[in-house]
């Protein structure tokens, strides 16, 4: 069997099919946002849809070329590619062009290239290379430090470009680490951190403290110390009521949450004697974690104040703190109106009034999902989400069938990046995630993003096609 024939035979055609379908649905959406009555023809290169067609054809050629490359190239040069990408990210800080307050574009003639898009696959290659080393264990401190560094460099450089959204994408690699052995509690802690962050902004400090105490008590019960938890709770309530009464007698110089905090502190110190006398190590750790959480929520307000105003606004809007219709809520409100007005089956191709009359901002890039939602309705939106889900699950499936750890790690990187982009982008258009400016893969207008995702996927498909030649 010739080499080329073996690639074709072992290539995952289902993934290629899903890729092509998504790319063309994406192009149709870009066409819908840019279409004007009386302007027919898809080869209008002054329009976004005309240009996007060029990028798509070029991306196909690029994908084909990647399939012809020997897999050893990717393993051998992964760190070189990573290094070059980092240099580009550094270079764009100095020589880049500033667009919408982000300095993340190289301008070559009339073409703009965004290196942060290409840094994603480079980082994935580097991670795959590092983690496929013999006997690599994620949970070793040195290894964790190394992985953290590999992510921190691109994320930091992109943050410096003032493109916070793209920097956050690197958080997605936590899923890869989890698959490769990262302790589940770390993932859980990350989830808890995000949840508490949101809670501490939305709710009063008293409520937040109550929630933390309840979680601590539930966890105590989980470790089969229900009796201790109950007595602790009783002591806490008594202590709180006493302090509260005292506070009231003094014409309430302290707020309610301060009183509860004092009560919790007193009870915690008292229980320490009990814990040490009975050597309940787990409860000690729990108590420590509980206090870390308290400290964290107190500092969240400080962190929040240090964010840029527009970031604060976006978070506030998501959490429903500010009125949605005016100012910063305009984006999300108009996006939801566009999608919501689509109904069950949508208004039909090119019939969307909300996207056509520019109500939706960034309608061809970050908010492209509005075009899908408005013109194809619930049915179309669901199909797109299911197609993405199928694609991601397929990539996970393919990753699992790899014999080499390099290919598997890389595959999980692909799945994680895709998942993060899809979840955050669609989530923001339907108001479940703050407005974070990252593109929807294959849909959003722009050559850099389309090419970067194509490269990411085709490298994996190339590795997958070679899986049978790899020996463990």
């Amino acid at each position: 069997m010739s080499r080329r024939a073996s690639i074709a035979a072992n290539l995952d055609w289902l993934s290629i099919f899903l890729y092509v379908v998504l790319v063309f649905m994406g192009w149709a959406s870009v066409y819908a946002t840019g279409h004007e009555e009386g302007q027919e023809g898809i080869f209008n290169f002054t329009k976004e849809y005309g240009k996007q067609l060029c990028w798509i054809l070029a991306a196909f050629v690029l994908g084909f070329l990647i399939l012809l490359v020997d897999t050893k190239f990717f393993t051998a040069f992964s760190l070189v590619i990573y290094g070059s990408a980092m240099l580009l990210l550094l270079g764009v800080l100095f020589f880049g062009k500033e667009v919408n307050a982000s300095r993340s574009w190289f301008e070559i003639g009339s073409i703009r290239v965004q290196p942060s898009e290409f840094a994603k696959f480079a980082t994935a290659l580097a991670l795959a290379r590092v983690m496929s080393r013999h006997e690599f264990k994620v949970m070793r401190f040195g290894n964790l430090l190394l992985l953290g560094l590999l992510l921190a460099i691109p994320a930091g450089l992109i943050k410096l470009q003032n493109d916070t959204g793209s920097a956050m994408v690197y958080g997605a690699f936590l899923l890869v680490f989890f698959r490769e052995g990262l302790h589940g509690s770390i993932l859980l802690l990350c989830f808890l951190a995000v949840a508490l962050f949101i809670l501490s902004i939305v709710s009063a400090p008293f409520t937040v403290l109550c929630v933390i105490i309840v979680i601590t008590l539930v966890a105590t019960c989980y470790y089969r110390n229900a009796r201790e938890a109950l007595s602790f709770f009783a002591a806490l309530v008594a202590c709180f009521l006493l302090l509260h009464l005292g506070n009231l007698l003094l014409d309430a110089p302290f707020e309610r949450d301060k009183v509860l905090l004092a009560a919790y502190l007193l009870c915690s110190v008292a229980s320490l004697f009990f814990i040490f006398s009975k050597r309940l190590k787990r409860l000690a750790v729990l108590l420590l974690l509980s206090w870390l959480c308290v400290g964290y929520t107190v500092s969240v307000d400080r962190i929040f104040d240090s964010l840029l105003p527009h970031q604060q606004h976006r978070i506030n809007i998501l959490l429903g703190i500010e009125e949605e219709t005016r100012k910063n809520g305009y984006h999300v409100m108009q996006s939801k109106i566009a999608i919501g007005s689509g109904g069950l089956t949508g208004k039909g191709f090119l019939q969307g009034t909300q996207i056509k009359y520019n109500f939706v901002p960034a309608k061809s890039t970050d908010f492209i999902f509005c075009a899908v939602g408005e013109e194809w309705g619930f049915v179309g939106s669901t199909v797109v989400i299911l197609l993405f889900m199928t694609f991601i699950l397929r990539v996970i499936y393919l990753a699992e069938r790899q014999r080499s750890r390099f290919s598997r790690v890389y595959g999980y990187c692909v799945a994680s990046i895709l998942f993060f982009h899809v979840a955050v982008n669609i989530g923001m258009t339907i108001g479940l995630v703050p407005v974070i400016g990252i593109p929807l893969p294959f849909f959003s207008y722009g050559g850099s993003s389309l090419w970067a995702f194509s490269i990411l996927i085709f490298i994996f498909l190339r590795l997958d096609a070679n899986r049978l030649q790899v020996f463990r």
Binding site: R326, F359, I392, I396, A415, I430
Partner: protein, 602 residues
């Protein structure tokens, strides 16, 4: 080997969970919740043009002459129009069904997505009713415009009017759109760039009842309108109104200039029209009658009227003769009811011989024809044609036969060239006697009152004039329009001529221009008119030693310069310098006002 393999299920589970949550959320607000569909329907945008108020026009004392009044246009946005009660709309607007249907068709043809003016300039009372009921008419809304409001009832041709920009205007300047107003004539046209300001636009979100719901995209695409700049004219509205009063029932033109500054104090073309006749919808109603009026009220006689200067040309001949050294103030020429100079030149009875001062005083024709011959036939020239060219240069230097003012569309007038006479006389060998009627302001000469007033200002200034202008130079681009022009004649010669012009008023033909305790210098003229009675002309400035006003008065068919033009000039000078007319002159004023030269005897 791979002890974490089980975690693929957890990761896949996270992916499936998130996708499921999203699909549930989509189902919730795309299928179950109707509020977004209603909001989308209400999400209609409307682009409103914000018309700036046009700049105001003031006179030199900052008295308001022209300002603005509100008018209302009914705008239609065809895409948003639903079925409506046409009968009611017709009743409110007071228009015919055909008119409405024709205009609706026009609006639709213009664009289904862009707003068009359906009915323009709706009266205030109709607007009040319409506004109450507008909610029943989706796709229709009101746009407030401003129309001109005048505080004077004459001099319409000076102020000009505004009308909707035509296809040619729109093509020439993309700033204009259909339905915009543009200054069409007069000051409105000349100072359109100053007065118009800058249009703004506002994009508003409107609901399906056509009610405003706030700005689109936080007003990111809105533009503020900039109010037009005010025009401060140099006009003295009291003098202008008085000139209008004196010129009633007469044809002609008056231009008065402050010589030191070139500022136009009055500029009246008679008969004129009341500018209030052609404001807004009245424009279409009254314009045709003005246009067809045989008295041509729309025609600006002061800048476009071509008149021979008559004897008012004589002081200029004296200046040229003195400057070229062909005569001195003492030079005498004989005249006995005329003289033979190549041909017989008739004159009226006065003493003989006369010197220069006396010649100006008596307006002696043979004297100036002699001067003219000496100029043209001066031995320093190769032939008469060279002499003529030199003579013509002096005429042009005084701003005659060329456009002189900064702010008006003018006729050039005509000072024939030497080539013109070569052709006309069919020979290159002509003599001064062939064309010597030029010396007394007759012949082929054509000069506008504006040029004549400017020439008078140059006499008053004894050797220079400032570009006549009507806009106070409040900014740089206005300042650049005004320049000082020197005249190549020695100041001493002016004094001799002005002495002669003083005598015209004190002892001679211009006695009607006398003003108590003011030294008036003037010159009468009679412009020959082949079509009827001659035109009466008078140029004057006062006070003679330190002139504050220089003016020209043309009265068509007024026969002798002395009869009407000099009297009017005297009254205007008195009015301007003293503010009122003294008792002695009241009778004269009454005579002038009551004279009807258009329909004599009526």
């Amino acid at each position: 080997m791979d002890k974490f393999g089980y975690r693929k299920g957890i990761i896949a589970g996270i992916v499936v969970t998130v996708c499921t949550v999203y699909i549930i959320q989509l189902f919730h607000f795309q299928v179950l919740d109707d509020t977004y569909k209603i909001k989308a329907e209400n999400n209609s945008q409307r682009v409103e043009t914000l018309y700036p108020a046009r700049g105001l026009i003031y006179d030199r004392e900052r008295r308001l002459l022209v300002d603005n009044q509100a008018a209302y246009d009914l705008i239609m946005l065809p895409r948003q129009v639903k079925r409506f009660d046409t009968t009611e709309l017709l009743a409110i607007l007071g228009i015919s069904r055909e008119f409405l249907e024709r205009n609706i068709a026009k609006c639709k043809e213009h664009s289904p997505y862009k707003p068009s003016v359906l009915v323009s300039q709706i009266a205030g009372d109709r607007y009040a009713v319409l506004q109450e009921k507008l909610y029943r008419y989706p796709g229709f809304y009101i746009q407030t415009r401003t129309l001109r409001k005048y505080h004077v009832n004459h001099s319409g041709d000076l102020f000009g009017y505004i009308s909707e920009a035509g296809a040619a205007d729109i093509e020439k300047d993309p700033y204009y759109a259909a339905g915009d107003y543009i200054g069409t004539t007069g000051l409105e046209r000349t100072f359109e760039w100053l007065l118009r300001g800058k249009k703004g636009k506002k994009i508003v979100l409107v609901d399906n009842f056509n009610r405003e719901k706030g700005s689109f995209a936080n007003g990111e695409y809105d533009e503020v309108a900039t109010v037009g700049e005010d025009l401060y004219t140099t006009l003295d509205i009291d003098l202008q109104s008085y000139a209008n009063l004196l010129m009633q029932n007469k044809k002609g033109g008056i231009v008065a200039i402050e010589p030191k500054t070139g500022e136009i104090l009055a500029k009246l073309s008679a008969p004129g029209y009341d500018p209030r006749m052609i404001v807004g919808q009245d424009l279409g109603r009254n314009y045709p009658s003005l246009q067809n009026d045989p008295l041509k009220p729309l025609y600006d006689r002061t800048t476009k009227g071509r008149y021979p200067p008559g004897s008012t040309f004589k002081p200029l001949q004296a200046l040229i003769g003195l400057e070229m050294g062909v005569i001195t103030p003492g030079t005498l020429f004989p005249c006995n009811h005329g003289a033979y100079i190549g041909r017989f030149v008739a004159c009226h009875g006065h003493k003989s011989p006369v010197n220069l001062r006396e010649a100006i005083e008596t307006s002696c024709n043979p004297y100036f024809i002699n001067v003219f011959s000496r100029v043209l036939e001066s031995p320093r020239f190769r032939d008469v044609r060279d002499g003529y060219n030199e003579w013509r240069k002096y005429i042009i230097a005084f701003g005659l036969g060329v456009k002189v003012s900064a702010d008006f569309e003018e006729d050039n007038g005509l000072i024939p060239t030497q080539e013109y006479y070569d052709l006309r006389l069919k020979t290159r060998n002509w003599y001064s006697s062939y064309i010597n009627s030029l010396a007394i302001g007759q012949g082929e000469l054509a000069i506008t009152p504006m040029q004549m007033a400017n020439f008078t200002a140059a006499l008053a200034n004894r050797g220079y004039y400032i570009t006549p202008h009507i806009a106070s130079p409040t900014n740089d681009s206005l300042r650049r329009r005004v320049q000082r022009h020197e005249v190549p004649v020695d100041r001493a010669h002016f004094e001799v001529v002005i002495e002669g012009m003083r005598r015209v008023v004190t002892n001679g033909t211009g006695w009607r221009a006398r003003v108590d305790s003011v030294a008036v210098a003037g010159k009468t003229g009679t412009a020959e008119n082949p079509h009827g009675k001659d035109h009466s002309v008078f140029i004057a400035f006062a006070p003679a030693d330190d002139p504050a006003i220089a003016l020209v008065v043309y009265v068509e068919h007024g026969e002798w310069g002395a009869t009407y033009a000099a009297a009017i000039a005297g009254l205007l000078i008195e009015k301007y310098l003293k503010g009122t007319i003294s008792g002695a002159k009241r009778a004269e004023e009454k005579r002038i006002i009551e004279t009807n030269l258009i329909f004599p005897g009526s």
